[in-house]
Symmetry: C2
Subunit: 429 residues, 2 copies
Amino acid sequence: MSNKLNIGLLGLGTVGSGVPFILNSHKEKIQQVTGMEIQVTKALVRDESEKERQAKRFDIALTTDYNEIINDEEIHVVVELIGKIEPAKTYISQALEAGKHVVTANKDLLAQYGAELASLAQKNHVDLYFEAAVAGGIPILRTIANSLAADNIQKVLGIVNGTTNYMLTKMVAESKSYEEALKEAQELGFAESDPTNDVDGIDAAYKMVILSNFAFGMNVNLKDVETQGIREITTDDVEMAKKLGYELKLIGSSEKIGESIAVQVAPMLVPLTHPLHSVKNEMNAVFINSSGVGESMYYGPGAGAKPTATSVVSDLITIAKNIRLGTTGYRFNSYNYETKLANDNEVYGKYYFAFDVPDKKGQLLLLTKIFSSTDISFEQVIQQKTDGTTARMVVTTHAMTKAQMKAVTEKIQEVPEFHLLNTFKVLED
Amino acid sequence: MSNKLNIGLLGLGTVGSGVPFILNSHKEKIQQVTGMEIQVTKALVRDESEKERQAKRFDIALTTDYNEIINDEEIHVVVELIGKIEPAKTYISQALEAGKHVVTANKDLLAQYGAELASLAQKNHVDLYFEAAVAGGIPILRTIANSLAADNIQKVLGIVNGTTNYMLTKMVAESKSYEEALKEAQELGFAESDPTNDVDGIDAAYKMVILSNFAFGMNVNLKDVETQGIREITTDDVEMAKKLGYELKLIGSSEKIGESIAVQVAPMLVPLTHPLHSVKNEMNAVFINSSGVGESMYYGPGAGAKPTATSVVSDLITIAKNIRLGTTGYRFNSYNYETKLANDNEVYGKYYFAFDVPDKKGQLLLLTKIFSSTDISFEQVIQQKTDGTTARMVVTTHAMTKAQMKAVTEKIQEVPEFHLLNTFKVLED
């Protein structure tokens, strides 16, 4: 067998260019570890003239026609970095069917068609790896698949979207408003001009679907991930969280309850003593609770050209080793378990509620009645501020089910004078 | 091939008993992931009657004679959990020579004879894994060997000794003295009655030797690890560190400088903003600086029966997979690079010096002269306290070489009136 592993690269943008860069910079080590020379030989681009400089620098042939990659028998692996569903899905499927291994960082695609593509890869005895799809530079998927295979995971909590973590860090540390934080993130290139996928938690939900598959062996549909973004968070919430000893962060949570799991993305109050609390700015982290190891956390950059490209190259190294050992065609994640979703009566949590209520007597009594009629007990009730007419009240509760939370929310909304501003889950230490 | 993987277990103490416990609790998942049933069939113990209860519970045959394990052809893997050099070294060597795979958590042994044992394993086409030897429950070795193979590591900083991290956390958070913190750690079972290996940094040095081998492919001798423990740290140091915006922690550091590395274990001042700062109590963490990923950190329990046993079982799962794929006999760490140690002129750092000096005029001038004659400039000079006769002075410096640090230390020690109390490295953000 040849000792060269040739790559066809789809997309030669910022991240795409990172792949030949990392392969080149760490050439000696990669060759030593794999016994192979890994190189990008051809790249699919939209406009050849725009990418001439990179192509020349790394000795890559350019093409605008995917057939020139799929029909190139010298290409062993296709690396897909164009993102979104189509044409990525077609390209990857064709590559797998042509007997080429595939590495991708496409979280949107994997969250929606991961199971289908993994089966297609297995059917064609080729590898499909996607370490870079979740938490960029953090090798979390391989860690769960290999090292935590000996363990039973109970809960995965992730800060898996760098844009929103950056924004929330600024809102906390510099008392910026949501709009100011978004503007700054956009200026720094952390947020896109249309930030919907980030700020509404959709990007984080994609990643939690993939993490849930690795941690629990289950295939969760995107629509089953209850997803709440950060648009509604105000400086009042940020300040009150601080006063209570917490920090607001956008958390992806996937939790095992009996034989079922519950997956959610939402702003949560993270205690100062929780390891996730120390994850600032655009950094990501995945915190795992498991019966064997106990608590562990994996921290690193969630995006960026070099971290993402490094993860892609770690997948290429794994493929190179598999080829040499004759062990290609096994699933990235071999853990497979019947998918069951927990119902709202099984999922427990403490909550934070913020309301505007009329600033007059009897309101607290009414509030207490509503909560106690749903069997919810308060931990704290605080009047945060008042303008004489309207008071902002914050309530933190003891643990309740999600069903109770929804029931009390309905009851509150039936009182015309009460305006429920925000409900956030409170993480325990 | 049989679908059973039989284990001979050396040592059925706290950690030893954890192995059949984890294998049993996570049986279904392990079988699903490996396609094999992994079970402990025989255990070597010192006194059979003492271990009867565990043996019965997990259906393990007991023996006091190692020959009954080494000559048992039904046993595929020997798991060594008795610790120290002998007889562990002989047992492991005999197992490898008998064609049995070996899993061990023995850091003392690996730090001193790791290269020899790895060669012996390779010669006999069997596996030798030891994930549990460094940072107990954190899958750091496999992560470096697999996922970071695509990267060039520049620096590894580790909190790799739980006992001293627990003690220092108490000294910082509760203003305890070294003696009080040690007593508490001993009462809680975190520290042994003879705490030398922990408090003098020897245990951490073992782990840094192993980490250096994985991160840089180099074989460092234990004697080349400059090692300083925590015995000399006083409440004055803890308080001053806090005032300056740092926290004192025992840090293992392995750093690449050109083609060489420098390995060290010492108390260091960790800035509040550094991710290692959040690692409290008995928890461990390994922080990695690499050219591709940038900053990443791996956090979890460093010891304990269940975390350690879980790491051992993750090694057993890897062996089971290797057997099924026919890929046993490859080194755990295949990265190999010529070992070169940096000299003191190449290693840079900022330092903290604490002195007792006579409380009279002219002392600061004398101190300044000594430092500037070695080309060292101060960042801060603080008189921490005085009893009227003797003043405690603290100096923090700009970056200097280790050679300069040693030179200035000698000069200070030549002044009879100056009493140098402590010198600690200051980590940068």
